[in-house]
Each structure stands twice: as structure tokens, then as C-alpha cells.
């Protein structure tokens, strides 16, 4: 019996203008945008590759260890085509040094293209689904019950010995089948375009991630269909149902996300906690500075000159860069000379001793400051943004966006994976320098006995987190979507059971 119902509903839906329109518009938008998005990704990849090459070259030209500033780049995520998330917005170039522990707030944008073009809006595939699919789902649902009630066919159907639950289920299944056609077909086209582009190499895991996105899209679609069905169940006339459905759509998709973000106070004044942590970090470095000066005062070399009077072709500088907003404060110094006059030969051992003391001390202080900073950054910057994300999830749009970002790995956690890898790499670089005994060597600041050989420096590589991690991050939101589905279905069922026809 239920198959007959499904068959009837399916035919009813498939032969309509709205089905054709839905199919056409989704295909058109997805294909047109995928082409553009792929092109954009290729551009970003190209500039990433160029930047990696430049940085690779730059480090090899550095003559002393002290001058060797390692820069690493963040590769663009190919799944940003589906949901761009934070992939394009956060910095993609970061400087690694023993003086401080890097975070995503120190990353810069590599200045390769026209930054003014950012004022033009851009979209991704998930956004298209967010707007179009939800609209389609509501348009398929608004007259499902109200329409039959108006035409009187609902009464006719119910005169047969059919359970009301079966009618609902048949309507739900057939409409979802119809709605899946534009969704899956357009995704298929997008996938074909993706896989035929040679510059994009998708791993096996990526297909699973895309599968996760599809699954989430279906859950999202179903939420909006059920919202439409609910409206249809409580209204008597299709006109009213349509009007209400449109209002709900506008409110959930357009108004709510914008309204809630605008309503939350976004202050740029550092909170008291941030200020006190910043002062603590400063104190840690002040302590370091005192010890440093103490060392200079008590070592064999007279005076407190950190350059030990050494001079020549090259430079020396030291300062404390700071950024109170992101709680950044550290000691930064560089001393590097190409040629050294023979008259400085007596001072060189003093300098070597100094650096043997200074660099490990700097590293230790950087670790201490980082422990303070890490917690405070979590408490101020990250918590606030996570609160905004949570509030966004009051609308299914927010859940869908969060879940697909997690699948694609373009969410905050996914981007932070990269910076965790960067921090690990910093440790590797320090260990490497330590193993070369670089801090105490003459080559730390002078290249007169030959330049540093950088060829054995371990290279940086970053692999996106595995599919299990993506799944773990996406699952809460996906489950939330499914729960909303279930709840809505139960409410509709109860209303429909009790309603008079």
C-alpha cells in the first residue's frame, strides 16, 4: 500500500514545473560556480607554490644561523570549493623563530594578488545549497497537506483503510527522492569537474569527506522539507501555507544569521584578563632581560655591550615586538656578519659564550610565555568566536554550515591543525639547530669561515587531519540536524493524527 502511495506522490512531484525549475537552477548555479571556484583555487595554489619556492630559496641564501628565518606556507584546501570557511580568510604565511611560539594570529596573507577584490562577494557550493535547496524543500512541502485538504483529495484518501502515518511517510519519502535528484546530480557534475582538473588532486579520504558533506546536505534538506510539511499541516489554505513558508525561510536563512551576529557585541578593547596576562608575559620577558644583562655584566668581557664591539659588513639589532591585542611579546635579536676583521678575533669567544647562554634561555622563556598566552588566547579570542558559532546553530543553516566546514576541514579546528603542525616544526628546527650545536658556534653570527649549509634542514610538510577527525568534528552538528528532523517529524505526526479533515 505504502509503495502505491509513494509511487503516486513521486509521479505527482516529478511531473511538475517546480521540479524542472529546481533541477535547472541548481545545476546552473552549481556548475557555473564550480568552474569559477576551481579557477580561484588554482590561483591560490599557484601563489602557494611560488611562495614555497621563494622561501626555500631565501633560507638557503642565509649565511649565518642567526639570520636563518624559516618561513612556512599554508596550502589551500581543495575542499574549500565546497565550503570555504576560514581557509581564505586567515593568514597563510608564517615566520618560525626560536624567540616565540607562533599562533594563527601571527600568520600573514601572502601579498600576491589584488586585496581590493575581496570587497566583491564570493560564494561556495554549500552556500548555494543553503539558499536554493532550503527554498526548494519548502516549495515542495507547503501544499503537501494543505493542498490536498483544499482539493478534498485528502478526505478521499483517508476513506481507504490507510494509516495516517503511512501517508505522511509516503509524502516524505517521495518528496525527498525528488529533492535528491537536483542535489546529487549537481554534486555529480561538480565532482566530474573537480576530478578532471589536473591541478586538483583529491585523495581517497577527500571522497569520503565529500560523502559526509552530501549526507549533511540531505539532513539539511530534510529539515526544511519537514518545516514546510509542518506549516502545511497546521494551515488550512495553501495560500497561507505558502506565505508562512516564505516568511520562515527568509527568517531562518537570511535574517537570523545576520541579525544574531550583528546583535552580539564585538569589542576590540582587550578584557581585563587579557591585559593582566599580557603584563604577566611582559614580566616573564623582563625577568629574562634582567638575567641577560646580568650575564653581560658578569662575563669576562668588560661592559654590557651585547655586540662585544664586533663590527663589520652586516648588522645587529634587538627589540621587543609587541601586540597587546593578541598578547604577543618577545625578545628579538639578530647579529650577523659576512666578513669579520681579524682584530675582532679576541671578542669572538665572548660572543660565542654569550649566545650559548642566550639562545637556550630565550627558548625557555618563549615556552613559559606561551603557556600563559595559550590559555588567555583561548579564553578571549577563541571563546568569543565559538560563542557566536553556537548561537548561529539555533538556525539549521548554522548547523549545516558548521558540519560541512568540519567535513571540509576549513573550520577553525581544521585551520588550527596547521598551526599545531607549525609549532611542532618549530621544535624540529630548534632540535636540528641544537644537534648542529648552532647556538654556540661561530656560524651563529659570522660567516667568515664559510656560510651555513642549510641543505640538511628538515623540510616542513603538512597533512590535513584524517577522515576520522573530520567525522568526529562534524558529527555533533550532524546529529543535531538529525535530531531536529526527528523532532519535527514527530510533531507533524501528532498534529496530523489529531487534525480533522
Amino acid at each position: 500500500m505504502i509503495t502505491t502511495l509513494i509511487g503516486r506522490e513521486l509521479l505527482n512531484n516529478l511531473m511538475t514545473f517546480r521540479f524542472a525549475a529546481a533541477l535547472f537552477i541548481t545545476l546552473l548555479l552549481v556548475v557555473a560556480n564550480t568552474v569559477v571556484l576551481i579557477k580561484d583555487y588554482e590561483q591560490r595554489l599557484e601563489s602557494y607554490n611560488a611562495s614555497v619556492k621563494t622561501h626555500h630559496q631565501e633560507i638557503r641564501e642565509k649565511q649565518t644561523y642567526s639570520a636563518g628565518e624559516v618561513e612556512v606556507d599554508r596550502p589551500p584546501n581543495p575542499l574549500s570549493i565546497f565550503n570555504v570557511g576560514l581557509d581564505k580568510r586567515l593568514g597563510n604565511e608564517i615566520w618560525i623563530s626560536h624567540n616565540y611560539v607562533p599562533t594563527l594570529w601571527e600568520a600573514r596573507m601572502n601579498a600576491s594578488d589584488n586585496p581590493y577584490l575581496n570587497i566583491l562577494s564570493s560564494i561556495d557550493i554549500v552556500f548555494i545549497f543553503e539558499v536554493v535547496l532550503s527554498l526548494m524543500a519548502l516549495l515542495f512541502a507547503y501544499d503537501a497537506l494543505a493542498g490536498e485538504r483544499e482539493q478534498g483529495t485528502l478526505r478521499l484518501v483517508l476513506t481507504h483503510p490507510i494509516r495516517r502515518g503511512h501517508i505522511l511517510l509516503a509524502k516524505y519519502i517521495s518528496a525527498m527522492l525528488c529533492l535528491l535528484v537536483p542535489l546529487l546530480l549537481s554534486l555529480l557534475f561538480a565532482l566530474i569537474l573537480l576530478t578532471t582538473t589536473t591541478s586538483i588532486s583529491l585523495e581517497a579520504d577527500d571522497f569520503l569527506r565529500i560523502g559526509g558533506i552530501v549526507l549533511t546536505s540531505i539532513a539539511y534538506l530534510s529539515v526544511f522539507y519537514l518545516i514546510g510539511l509542518l506549516i502545511s499541516a497546521v494551515t488550512q489554505r495553501t495560500g497561507t501555507a505558502l506565505m508562512l513558508a516564505m516568511f520562515v525561510w527568509g527568517a531562518l536563512v537570511l535574517v537570523y544569521p545576520n541579525l544574531i551576529l550583528a546583535a552580539i557585541r564585538s569589542s576590540d578593547i582587550p578584557q581585563a584578563k587579557a591585559v593582566s596576562t599580557f603584563n604577566q608575559i611582559k614580566q616573564v620577558w623582563d625577568e629574562f632581560d634582567r638575567e641577560r644583562k646580568q650575564y653581560l655584566a658578569t662575563d669576562d668581557f668588560p661592559g654590557e655591550d651585547p655586540t662585544f664591539n664586533i663590527n663589520g659588513m652586516g648588522f645587529f639589532y634587538e627589540h621587543f615586538p609587541e601586540d597587546p591585542l593578541t598578547l604577543l611579546y618577545f625578545y628579538y635579536s639578530m647579529m650577523t656578519f659576512g666578513e669579520l676583521d681579524e682584530k675582532f678575533e679576541r671578542e669572538v669567544p665572548h660572543a660565542q659564550n654569550y649566545f650559548r647562554f642566550l639562545i637556550p634561555s630565550t627558548i625557555k622563556t618563549a615556552e613559559r610565555a606561551w603557556l600563559l598566552r595559550k590559555q588567555a588566547l583561548e579564553d578571549t579570542l577563541v571563546r568569543k568566536s565559538n560563542m557566536k558559532r553556537t548561537l548561529l546553530k539555533l538556525s539549521p543553516v548554522g548547523m549545516y554550515d558548521a558540519a560541512t566546514q568540519a567535513w571540509a576541514g576549513t573550520d577553525l579546528k581544521g585551520v588550527r591543525d596547521f598551526f599545531n603542525a607549525v609549532r611542532q616544526y618549530r621544535q624540529t628546527v630548534i632540535d636540528y639547530l641544537d644537534s648542529k650545536n648552532a647556538f654556540a658556534s661561530r656560524k651563529w653570527f659570522a660567516a667568515d669561515e664559510g656560510a651555513v649549509d642549510w641543505s640538511t634542514l628538515p623540510a616542513f610538510s603538512f597533512k590535513r587531519s584524517g577522515i576520522e577527525t573530520n567525522a568526529k568534528r562534524a558529527l555533533p552538528d550532524l546529529l543535531l540536524l538529525l535530531t531536529v528532523n526527528l523532532l519535527l517529524f514527530m510533531i507533524i505526526f501528532l498534529i496530523f493524527i489529531k487534525s480533522e479533515v
Binding site: 566583491l120 505558502l242 550583528a262 577563541v382
Partner: protein, 474 residues
């Protein structure tokens, strides 16, 4: 005709959609006002602090000597925040808010650190304010441009999708046409009725919004700002009538109101949501951005060429005027070239943005966005105007320095070199100050094209609706 209009308005006033619309618009407009009141004073404070600082730089340098002023120039220039920021945010957070004054370069020093060869200040245009410190969800704005562009247009379709098809379904259309009313009167009546019924909740929301903003003592609106607000309100009505006409057109041709709404919604999604972004992406990928390295490569030959040109004059051993003159010329030309290079980069990028914006102008939503931006004094065009203001001022300042120097008979009139310039004190009050201004008539000129295009869209759609309705069978 007035009878039909009145009937339409009464019909709408009692409907559910009218109530929902009022609630929606009020919520949006109140949020907008509250946000503006919260953020605008901070923005103004930041601007004033920055301006005071650069003014202090200017005064200090003028107090020091004419030479210091000529060499170090004024402090950085800052873009004045528009009091109408709540109308259109215009991607301001992505645009730089300053034009910087670069410190004079030092090419050579002797062993004691005395500068043997240096330069003079020049302008540089910093890259966009990249907000990569914020890790929150993507920023979205509830400004008037969004409320009018997306929400009001949707509401317009919501009010008109069943204008004819609904009456046709109920049979009242036949009844009405059976009376001796010409069809165009019916059409105009319906048009005015829908437009007025949308204007009522919109005007109400705008009034509440402006009441909140103008009564707060932290924000002050000038008479000119009120004039601009009036223009923006008129633009909103023009834009709404476009969508009303579109709704009437589709409604007249389609038999069922459900189908009519579906078509309209799909059109809306394409016109308002997708066309602006997709076309912009396509347009910007047509002409790939020139990379920073390429610009840098273009710059280097200019520099080397300059060295060759002045090599002899700079290294001549005689200590006379000709060496000073060579230095002065070298400094000036170096700064000029630096500035020209910066300007070219800005121009290149600007032309790219302009091209993309021109293509997206096919969508009325983008047209409206641009129009509101230029009347609110925000956005890209405003940024260019600011850069132009800065350029004009720097010319003025350089002329002032030259004139002051010329007025001193004891000076050698060799600018940029300490020995060659006037030693007299400069009165800091006499130095021209930078003022970032907005010009309404200029805004009208730059937007005339877009205004015409939008009006054209409305007229085309209205006549389309007329033709459709006149020829349709009832």
C-alpha cells in the same frame, strides 16, 4: 484608480504578511541602529586620535624648520568615517583606512651615522586591512543596503505574486474587468497599492531607526546627512518598485499563484543572491591579478635608471650649489617615482575592481548596493575619493613649502637639502591642513549612470507588466 489603490492597501493592511513584514523590518532596523550607536562613537574616536597624532607630527615638523617639513612631510592621512555608515558598510573593514606617508629613505651614512645621501617623504597606499585576527564566523552586515537589497525586494515579491493570479483564481479579476475600468488603471492601481503597502512598514522601521540614531547624543547627523538619507529612501522606493513591477509582470502571465511565486523566488535568488557574487568571481578571474613580485620587478629598473642619471652630479667633489642642486633633484625625483609607482599599482588594482563591478551591474541588487554606498559615503568609490583628496592635499603642501621658501630672499631655493632652504621659522598655523570631505554633487555625477540603469530596469519591467496584462485573457 484611487479606489483600486485604496482597496489594495486595505486588503494588505489586514493581512498576515503585512504584520510579519512589519515585525521583520522593525527587528532589522532596530538591530541596525543599536549596532551603529555602539560602534560609531568608537570609530570616530579612533579616527580623531589618529588625526590628532598626525597633526602633531605636522606641527612638530613645521616648528622644527621648513626643511624638516619638506623632508618628513605630514603625518599619515586617515579616512573620515561616514556618519551614514549604518546605511551601507561597503566592505569598509576590507579597505585600508589610511594613506601612509613613508619616511624619507637613507641611502648612505658615514661612519658616525651622518646622512650623506637620503631622500624626502612620499605617499604609499597600504594594502587592505586584512582581518585575519578575527577567527569568528564570516562577518555579515545588517545595514540598510542589506535590508533594502535582500529583504525589501523579497517582501515586494511577497506582496505581488498573487496580485493577478490570485484574483484570477478567485474569479474577482473577471468581475473587476466587467466594470468599465481600463486595464492600465487596474495595473497602476495595483502597482501603487502594493508599493504603498510596502512603504508603510518600511517607513515605520526607518523612522524608528532614525529616531534611535538621531536622539542619541553620541552620534550627530548634519543637514547634508539628512538630505542623503532622503535620497537613499527614494532609492529604496525605486528599487522596491522594480520588484513590484516584476511581481506584477509574472503574476499577470501565470495562471496559478503558487507557480507565480515559484518563478519569482527563483528569479529573486538569481538576481539578488547569485548574480552579484558569481559574476564578480567570473569577472575577476578574467584578468588575473598582477602579483606583488611582478610589480616589484617593474619598480627596480626605474630606480637603477635614476642612479645612473644623477651619478655624476652627486659624486662631484666640489662643494658648490650644483652638487646641492643635484641632490635636491635626486631626492625629489626619487620620491616622485616612488609615488608614481605606488599610484600605478593602485590604478591597476582599481581598474580591476571597476571592471568586476561594471559586470555585476547587470544585477539590480548590485546597482542598489553601489548607489547606497556612494550616497552613504562608504565603500570603494569613497575610498578612491579619499585617495584623491590626499593627493590634492599633498600637492598643496608641496606648493606651500616652495612658496614659503621663495618668500625668503636669503634662501638658495634648493628644496630638500638643509643648506639650500630657508632658515626662517615656519608658523605651524599657516601650514595647510588636510581635510577629508565628501561632495554630494560629485556623488550624483559618479552615480548618474547607475541611477539611470536602475530607472531603466524599472521602466522596462513596468511596461512589460503593462503589455502582459493588457493582452492576457481573463
Amino acid at each position: 484608480m484611487w479606489h483600486i489603490t485604496k482597496r489594495e492597501i486595505y486588503d494588505n493592511l489586514n493581512s498576515l504578511r503585512f504584520a510579519l513584514t512589519t515585525v521583520l523590518l522593525l527587528a532589522l532596523m532596530v538591530t541596525n541602529a543599536v549596532k551603529h550607536l555602539r560602534e560609531h562613537p568608537k570609530r570616530v574616536q579612533r579616527y580623531q586620535d589618529a588625526v590628532t597624532e598626525s597633526l602633531n607630527h605636522l606641527t612638530d615638523r613645521a616648528n622644527d624648520s621648513l626643511y624638516t617639513l619638506a623632508q618628513y612631510g605630514p603625518g599619515n592621512f586617515y579616512k573620515k568615517p561616514s556618519p551614514l555608515h549604518f546605511c551601507a558598510n561597503g566592505g569598509e573593514f576590507l579597505l585600508p583606512d589610511a594613506v601612509e606617508v613613508d619616511e624619507p629613505p637613507v641611502f648612505m651614512t658615514d661612519s658616525e651615522g651622518n646622512r650623506l645621501l637620503e631622500g624626502i617623504w612620499s605617499l604609499s597606499y597600504p594594502d587592505a586591512n586584512l582581518h585575519n585576527k578575527d577567527v569568528g564566523p564570516n562577518v555579515s552586515q545588517v545595514d540598510w543596503a542589506f535590508i533594502i537589497g535582500s529583504i525589501l525586494s523579497l517582501i515586494a515579491l511577497w506582496f505581488t505574486f498573487d496580485a493577478f493570479s490570485g484574483e484570477r483564481e478567485q474569479g474577482t479579476l473577471r468581475l473587476m474587468l466587467a466594470n468599465s475600468i481600463p486595464r492600465h488603471t487596474v495595473l497602476i492601481g495595483k502597482f501603487l497599492g502594493a508599493l504603498l503597502s510596502i512603504s508603510i512598514p518600511f517607513a515605520l522601521a526607518v523612522l524608528v531607526n532614525l529616531l534611535l540614531i538621531s536622539t542619541a547624543d553620541t552620534v550627530y547627523l548634519t543637514t547634508e546627512a539628512w538630505g542623503r538619507l532622503g535620497i537613499i529612501f527614494a532609492l529604496a522606493l525605486l528599487y522596491t518598485s522594480l520588484f513590484v513591477a516584476l511581481g506584477l509582470l509574472v503574476s499577470a502571465r501565470v495562471q496559478q499563484s503558487a507557480v507565480s511565486l515559484m518563478i519569482l523566488l527563483l528569479m529573486w535568488v538569481t538576481l539578488v543572491v547569485f548574480m552579484p557574487s558569481t559574476l564578480a568571481s567570473i569577472a575577476s578571474s578574467f584578468s588575473p591579478a598582477m602579483s606583488f613580485d611582478e610589480f616589484w620587478k617593474q619598480r627596480n629598473p626605474i630606480k637603477e635608471d635614476l642612479w645612473d642619471k644623477y651619478k655624476e652630479g652627486l659624486w662631484s667633489s666640489e662643494l658648490d650649489d650644483s652638487k646641492l642642486r643635484a641632490k635636491s633633484e635626486f631626492y625629489t625625483e626619487n620620491a616622485e617615482r616612488e609615488e608614481r609607482w605606488q599610484e600605478e599599482q593602485l590604478k591597476y588594482r582599481t581598474s580591476q575592481v571597476h571592471r568586476a563591478r561594471a559586470i555585476t551591474s547587470i544585477s539590480p541588487a548590485t546597482l542598489l548596493q553601489h548607489l547606497i554606498e556612494s550616497f552613504a559615503g562608504t565603500g570603494f568609490e569613497r575610498h578612491l575619493q579619499f585617495a584623491e583628496n590626499v593627493q590634492r592635499y599633498t600637492r598643496q603642501l608641496r606648493e606651500f613649502v616652495a612658496d614659503t621658501d621663495r618668500a625668503d630672499p636669503e634662501s638658495l631655493h634648493i628644496l630638500g637639502v638643509r643648506e639650500g632652504m630657508s632658515k626662517k621659522l615656519v608658523n605651524p598655523a599657516a601650514v595647510p591642513k588636510f581635510e577629508d570631505t565628501l561632495n554630494l554633487s560629485k556623488d550624483f555625477n559618479t552615480t548618474a549612470m547607475e541611477l539611470l540603469l536602475l530607472t531603466l530596469f524599472v521602466l522596462v519591467l513596468l511596461s512589460g507588466a503593462y503589455l502582459a496584462f493588457v493582452r492576457v485573457e481573463v
